[in-house]
């Protein structure tokens, strides 16, 4: 037993009032869905949190019509008036931050420390940021009077339910579009709480519509003929499907898909901070991060030293109750995802990589996976090529900067990369050569609404965030 055991420090779930069942949010009101309802569970306990309506294609049609109806008035408002609504939403998000964070952790399984300190503050920041653009679009470099596209159909994943919602809704609304958004079927609750916040902010009915459901609902949103813009964040397979659906329809499309990012550590790196960056890169949000640093490329000369430091650090990670304020690693979001992580980890072993996890007790109920390292990984292994989307790090080595670049780029993906070195000129040289939308230097998984985010190659196209993020929602 350790000398200093932290007592349980659970955040109270009383701050959030979960209803037994939820409908769809269409035209400013909650309405029933005509599809069969589904259950959303707390992945840490497998307890059912609520029943949620499935939007049929008729329901999606109603939502698109509501958005269409609201579009003229909304896009006709002066930017400064649209900004007021966005600022109001941002402020309400800050006021209700605890409620949002607790609900996010309950429905998603992520640690409250992250939902409280990362997700929710970034969500508010994103609304604040794009609120600021709403009345300055004429000065954004897209001509004197850039016009919105119309109705945006947006489909978001379960890993950052609130943050991905903010990335989609905030720029769309700032530019004058109206939206129909479908949250992921395993994490619909916070999106429905945002719907409530839209009501509280007195956002005109129909500007934001939220339809819940699984893949079919998403497909209906994407395929709807009256949708002008499709934005999707999720897997590359579904992204391909969407690209095929949208092709030739004239709909504007942005895709933010998978990744297999290289986190590259040179022998002259600030070692202790590099270890933190590796941990943050792959174990943040249980590795359910499209830009996760899932491939560690370490210079062979410091491999042993770094590996020892990394193992020592992993032994201090605290896995367990997502609502405990001291939890570092929460639950895997779903049984399906857990099965995928297990399957790929088994492939790693059978292909000859060596698997290691710290001594780590997993709770008896819920979906859990221990933080895991694979050493002796080769570029040809599946765990070096396929996105695992879990707390599993594949460790490879390199000898020279050129080899690091070659290995980092040798993937169908290109969403993000990390460079750890104390040598500034090498950072610039590397960043120039890495084919990745985001290159972090001496940090990882840092986000800011002012910074554009998006991928190369099969990680998607279009950019979200920053000035570039406006382009996706303007007719330019």
């Amino acid at each position: 037993m350790s000398m200093f055991e932290y007592a349980p420090a659970p955040e109270s779930r009383d701050v959030v009032d979960i209803k037994p069942s939820y409908g769809l949010f269409i035209g400013g009101e909650f309405t029933d869905g005509s599809g069969p309802s589904f259950k959303t569970v707390n992945p840490a306990t497998e307890e059912t949190l609520a029943e949620v309506a499935t939007a049929s294609s008729d329901d999606v049609d109603r939502a698109v019509q509501a958005a269409r109806k609201a579009f003229d008035a909304w896009s006709g408002l002066p930017g400064s008036e649209r900004a007021k609504y966005l600022f109001r939403i941002a402020r309400i998000i800050q006021e209700r931050a605890r409620e949002l964070a607790v609900l996010e952790s309950l429905d998603n399984g992520k640690p409250i420390r992250e939902s409280r300190d990362v997700d929710v503050p970034l969500v508010a920041a994103h609304f604040f940021y794009y609120a600021g653009w709403a009345d300055k679009l004429s000065h954004a470099g897209f001509g004197p009077d850039p016009r919105p596209l119309g109705v945006a159909g947006q489909v978001i994943p379960w890993n950052f339910p609130l943050l991905m919602l903010a990335w989609k809704i905030a720029p769309a609304l700032a530019c004058g579009n109206t939206v129909v958004l479908k949250p992921a079927e395993t994490t619909p609750l916070t999106a429905l709480l945002i719907a409530e916040i839209c009501q509280q902010a007195e956002l005109p009915p129909g500007v934001v519509n939220i339809v819940t459901g699984a893949g079919e609902t998403g497909a209906a949103v994407v395929a709807h003929p009256d949708v002008n813009k499709v934005a999707f964040t999720g897997s590359t397979d579904v992204g391909r499907l969407i690209a095929r659906t949208v092709a030739g329809s004239g709909k504007k499309l942005t895709l933010e898909l998978g990744g297999k990012a290289a986190n590259i550590v040179f022998e002259d790196a600030a070692l202790d901070q590099a270890v933190e960056g590796i941990v943050n890169g792959i174990f943040f949000n249980q590795g359910h991060v499209c830009c996760a640093g899932s491939r560690l490329l370490v210079q062979e000369s410091i491999q042993e030293e770094l590996l020892a430091a990394l193992k020592r650090r992993l032994a201090t990670l605290r896995l367990g109750d997502p609502l405990d304020k001291n939890t570092d690693i929460g639950a895997i979001n779903s049984a399906e995802q857990l099965a995928k992580i297990r399957q790929l980890s088994e492939a790693g072993e059978s292909e000859g990589a060596e698997r290691w996890s710290p001594a780590c007790e997993l709770p008896g109920r819920g979906y859990w996976f221990p933080p895991t390292l694979f050493t002796g990984v080769a570029q040809s292994h599946r765990i070096a090529r396929e996105e695992i989307f879990g707390p599993v790090l594949s460790i490879l080595t390199f000898r020279t900067p050129a080899e690091a670049v070659e290995k980092a780029n040798n993937t169908p993906y290109g969403l993000s990369a990390g460079i750890w070195t104390e040598k500034g000129s090498r950072i610039l040289w590397m960043a120039d050569k890495l084919r990745a939308g985001v290159v972090w230097a001496n940090t990882f998984n840092r986000f800011d609404p002012a910074s554009p985010f998006g991928g190369y190659k099969e990680s998607g196209y279009g950019r979200e965030g920053g000035l570039r993020g406006l382009e996706a929602y303007l007719d330019v």
């Binding site: 350790s2 200093f4 007592a7 300190d117 002259d268 202790d272 901070q273 933190e276 001291n326 104390e422």
Partner: protein
């Protein structure tokens, strides 16, 4: 590594090469890590345990020009019996000329007598003066010497001078433990903090200490974090364990607990004892006692229920 470490101080050039060959510290990353550990929520039983541990690690300190025998005796009385049921503190830290007073007042209590020395706080004097001051303090009954390094020499790149002074003072300490004050607020960069930590450990320091308390900033969390990493890595390299003492600016129970969390999650269990971790402080003790009572009774007592010494 042990054999090569024995030679690193053979010349200024080898020492410099060694210290500059240590991995760098990224300021942003170190600050972030310390801030994250500062969010740990220590409640109920863990808090009670942490408070008692923190009390037992306090070096109760008075380092004022106006210090008198009476003031020192009062502090010693508090050190022996901080409060109902509370553990005694680790040491009382005074100027050298008051060591005999503290030694008399603490005799048989188990509380150590610590003395600053070596022209504290600036360290701007000759080696002869520093060594003889150390010897006088030890002769007067000091169990521990808190020396300051020559920051001027360090910043001028004369690492060997700093090393030799520490080694000389260590020799003058005899059986007394040597704490080496880096005065990290004057070293300014985290890279310097790491280098000075290694320098002090290589030269024979038993403890590395952040600050004199006379310079701001004193003990910040990132600086303590870097020093904890240094003692951890030094033990891995040499097998010798060195203690850490943040001092200055630690005033509240919350500050103290954040420090313990840093120890727990950086250096680990082996450092969670007064033998290996100290908190240099004066007003901290009363806040610890107040929080201790609050945990036990559920109520805060007014400040007048805690003695001002």
């Amino acid at each position: 590594m042990t054999t090569s470490l024995a030679d690193v101080a053979s010349s200024g050039a080898t020492l410099r090469a060694f210290l500059h060959g240590l991995p760098g510290v990224d300021r942003v990353g170190a600050d972030q890590r310390a801030a994250m550990l500062g969010t740990r929520s220590i409640k109920t039983t863990a808090k009670a345990q942490a408070i008692d541990l923190a009390i037992s690690m306090v070096d109760l300190t008075t380092l004022e020009g106006a210090d008198t025998p009476g003031k020192v005796r009062a502090l010693c009385a508090k050190a022996r019996h901080p409060g109902e049921g509370a553990p005694r503190v680790a040491a009382v830290c005074v100027y050298p000329d008051l060591v005999h007073v503290a030694a008399g007042a603490l005799a048989g209590s188990g509380v150590k007598v610590a003395s600053v020395a070596t022209a504290f706080p600036s360290g701007r004097s000759s080696l002869e003066v520093k060594v003889s001051e150390t010897k006088l303090a030890v002769a007067a009954g000091a169990d521990e010497i808190d020396m300051v390094i020559d920051r001027g020499a360090f910043l001028a790149g004369d690492h060997l001078k700093v090393y030799e002074e520490i080694a000389a003072v260590k020799a003058a300490c005899g059986d007394a433990h040597l704490k080496v004050i880096l005065e990290t607020g004057e070293l300014a960069t985290y890279d310097n903090v790491r280098r000075a930590s290694w320098l002090a450990m290589l030269a024979g320091g038993d403890f590395i200490k952040t600050s004199t308390g006379k310079v701001s900033p004193a003990a910040t969390l990132p600086v303590t974090l870097i020093m904890l990493e240094a003692v951890r890595d030094f033990r891995d390299a040499t097998g010798r364990q060195v203690g850490v003492k943040p001092a200055g600016g630690i005033r509240t129970t919350k500050d103290a607990i954040k420090n313990l969390v840093l120890v727990n999650e950086t250096a680990g269990d082996d450092w969670l004892s007064p033998d290996w971790f100290r908190l240099g402080a004066s007003s901290l003790l009363n806040d610890l006692l107040m929080q201790r009572q609050k945990l036990a009774t559920g109520r805060y007592a007014g400040p007048d229920y805690f003695t001002l010494d």
